[in-house]
Amino acid sequence: MDLLSQKTPLSQRRPFISSLMATIALLVPWLATSVAWATPQAAAAAKTAPAFNGALWTFYIFGALTIAGALLTITRRNPVTAALWLVFTLFATAGVYLSLHATFMAAIQVLVYAGAIMVLFMFVVMMVGNTERQEFGIMRGLFSKVVALGAIALLGWRLISLLMRQAPAKAAMVSDGYGSVHSMGGVLFREYLFPFEAISVLLLVAIVGAVVISRRSTEEKEEV
């Protein structure tokens, strides 16, 4: 087996750089437009607002990191690399939660998503095993691609034009301890008590489902 030829030559790692550039190219208009949308109203508000809003900038920075991570995730050809970028994205999302004062959610995000779910991702990547790249070529399914791109462009345009009409929400001060374990639990075990108990049924179904679909057929068992 010629393993030497399987190793990706260094010269082929260039696509990483180019997709990084592409990501930045996509991010710049996003940031530019998000600033532009805020401008008319923000100009008036800026006179009273403090010069530097740390929470807002934290949100912007982690939001940008999340989008960059997500784009890198879906553009990687190697599933393991994609999974690692997904970890990055999930951490950045935890940062977004933190900037929104959802501290408990941020902790759970790191524990459950970046921890447990990524373990599962890696298992599946390993189990599927065959990571050979498949070349489809740009012409394959060109019609569907054009239709899909057109639909996305139309939808995106409608969405942006809609959101342009949206007046920016007024910032409100959250109460002390908002988003903490304590305040979230207070809601979870009182108003949302019934959904909380119902979730245990949902998780039960998930467990039974996992066991049912991963079961081998009786014939296979006999072979082993």
Partner: protein
């Protein structure tokens, strides 16, 4: 925030809670007892019957809806109870078919029935939900159980593939649903349906609400397989074990439409969200035309009866959307839609029971060639299948005829050119659909088979065929009682 647990709430929700607990007990029994699935099927049917009695009792009591159970999380009204009854009947019939089917195809595990019950309790939570959080949990409970059931055929690649496709599409739909709910919550600060409806009433044209609404409605479009979101349906329906397919076509579709109706008639019922260029009614009008036409045209080319019935279910979702549009124009016309749901559920369960009946020992005989000469060997079953196919096509004297009749009548009562066009398109579609509904009949009656079919021999399938054909005939000849019930099934809150 003050909070107190009201013991009366448990009584109101007893049928739902009972079924959930019973499902857990069936699961426990199958885990500890082991052995063959058969006993668990009977146990499941017993639980469904008991829960059904509870639902009937609630129906009598709940002339006035109870809307604020468990801090507004759950609602008990006749609309939800009517749908509960459909789920329970579909569950009983599915369990009866599955009983014979699982034994023949060597599924020996009892959790099949536990999952069936859990999916029904998920559906009940979904239609009883008074809060979007509860709605999502119910929907997910139902969906996860159904994904597992679709993929539950051990050692069958098609079944695993079907489950995978369904799961992937369902997960995307759930993501849209959750994002839409998050946007609504962001604007209003509440997830309670009644409160939400009140707040967004005063926010006509708010872009975020609009985006949220279309995300939620689009996600429901995935679940009930409307046309731009229908791609998963034929594969999932074909690969799933046939009793599960029948259950999906009957109960899951009923649950999806029930939830959709509650959303459009309860949450987005204000004129600002219903009408105009960004209202949902226009979009559903277009989707209705697309869904029934594309569903029917795709069904024309199928030689596989199971796949054909899958496309037929898409077409029927298109007809049902006429009902959603009708409810948008006048919520008091709900009865016609619910009657259609009942008629379609009963008919499709019968049709899929025949499909389940005809295959044996790891082989599902679903192509038209497999059906040659069935009438000669099994005249009663062929007659029942003919009845179901006539009902699906909308011919008298079957349930499908009156279902379409009342639906079209309700649509024409508005005297608007759009509704007239919609009904004319639907009638043209029904005529076209008769072509493919007649093909299995021709195959059964006028073709000679190379060999005699070796169908399931268990008696429970014949029970199902008997019950469903009787119901199809009763609904087709004396629809008044059911229609009256459906007309009383009003929403609260």
């Amino acid at each position: 925030m003050s909070f107190s647990l009201n013991p009366a709430d448990f009584v109101h929700l007893a049928p739902v809670l009972f079924l959930t607990v019973w499902a857990c007990l069936v699961l426990l029994a199958s885990a500890i007892g082991g052995g063959h699935g058969r006993h668990y099927g009977l146990l499941a049917i017993l639980g469904l019957i008991l829960s059904g009695l509870g639902v009937a009792l609630s129906w009598v009591q709940h002339v006035q809806p109870a809307t604020d159970l468990f801090a507004g999380m759950m609602v008990v009204d006749r609309f939800a109870l009517f749908l509960d009854m459909i789920f329970i009947i579909a569950g009983i019939l599915t369990a009866l078919v599955a009983d014979a089917y699982l034994e023949e195809h060597r599924f020996t595990e009892g959790e099949f029935f536990a999952l069936l019950l859990l999916s029904i309790s998920g559906m009940m939570m979904m239609v009883h939900a008074g809060d979007l959080v509860m709605f999502v949990i119910g929907l997910e409970t139902m969906s996860l159980a159904i994904y597992a059931l679709v993929a539950s055929w051990p050692g069958q690649r098609r079944s695993a593939e079907a489950g995978f496709k369904y799961f992937l599409m369902g997960a995307v739909a759930s993501a849209f649903l959750l994002y839409g709910i998050a946007l609504l919550y962001g604007v209003t600060g509440t997830t309670n349906l009644a409160k939400l409806a009140g707040v967004i009433n005063g926010k006509a044209g708010e872009p975020l609400v609009l985006v949220g609404m279309f995300m939620i409605l689009g996600a429901m479009g995935f679940k009930v397989a409307l046309v731009p979101f229908h791609m998963w349906t034929p594969d999932a329906y074909e690969g799933a074990p046939t009793p599960v397919t029948g259950f999906m076509a009957a109960a899951v579709k009923a649950a999806g439409f029930g939830a959709l109706l509650r959303l459009v008639a309860g949450l987005f019922s204000a004129d600002a969200w219903t009408f105009g260029s960004t209202g949902w009614i226009n979009i559903f009008w277009v989707l209705s035309v697309l869904t029934m036409t594309i569903g029917n045209i795709s069904a024309l080319r199928q030689n596989n009866v199971k796949r054909m019935l899958a496309y037929s279910s898409i077409a029927h979702a298109g007809y049902l959307l006429i009902g959603v549009v009708v409810v948008g124009l006048d919520p008091s016309q709900m009865g016609a839609v619910l009657f259609y749901v009942v008629a379609y559920a009963v008919t499709t369960l019968g049709a899929f029971a025949v499909v389940a009946w005809i295959g044996s020992r790891d082989v599902e005989r679903t192509t038209l060639e497999d059906w040659y000469g069935v009438a000669k060997h099994h005249p009663a079953v062929a007659l029942a299948m003919m009845l179901f196919l006539f009902s699906l096509g909308g011919l008298p004297p079957t349930a499908g005829f009156f279902a379409k009749f009342y639906l079209f009548k309700a649509a024409l009562s508005f005297d608007s050119p759009q509704m007239l066009t919609l009904v004319l398109i639907a009638i043209a579609n029904s005529v076209v659909s008769m072509y493919y509904y007649l093909r299995p009949i021709v195959a059964m009656y006028f073709r000679e088979g190379a060999s005699a079919p070796k169908p399931l021999t268990s008696f429970s399938v014949y029970w199902v065929l008997g019950i469903t054909s009787a119901l199809v005939l009763i609904l087709g000849m004396a629809p008044d009682a059911t229609l009256a019930w459906a007309a009383q099934a009003l929403m609260g809150g």
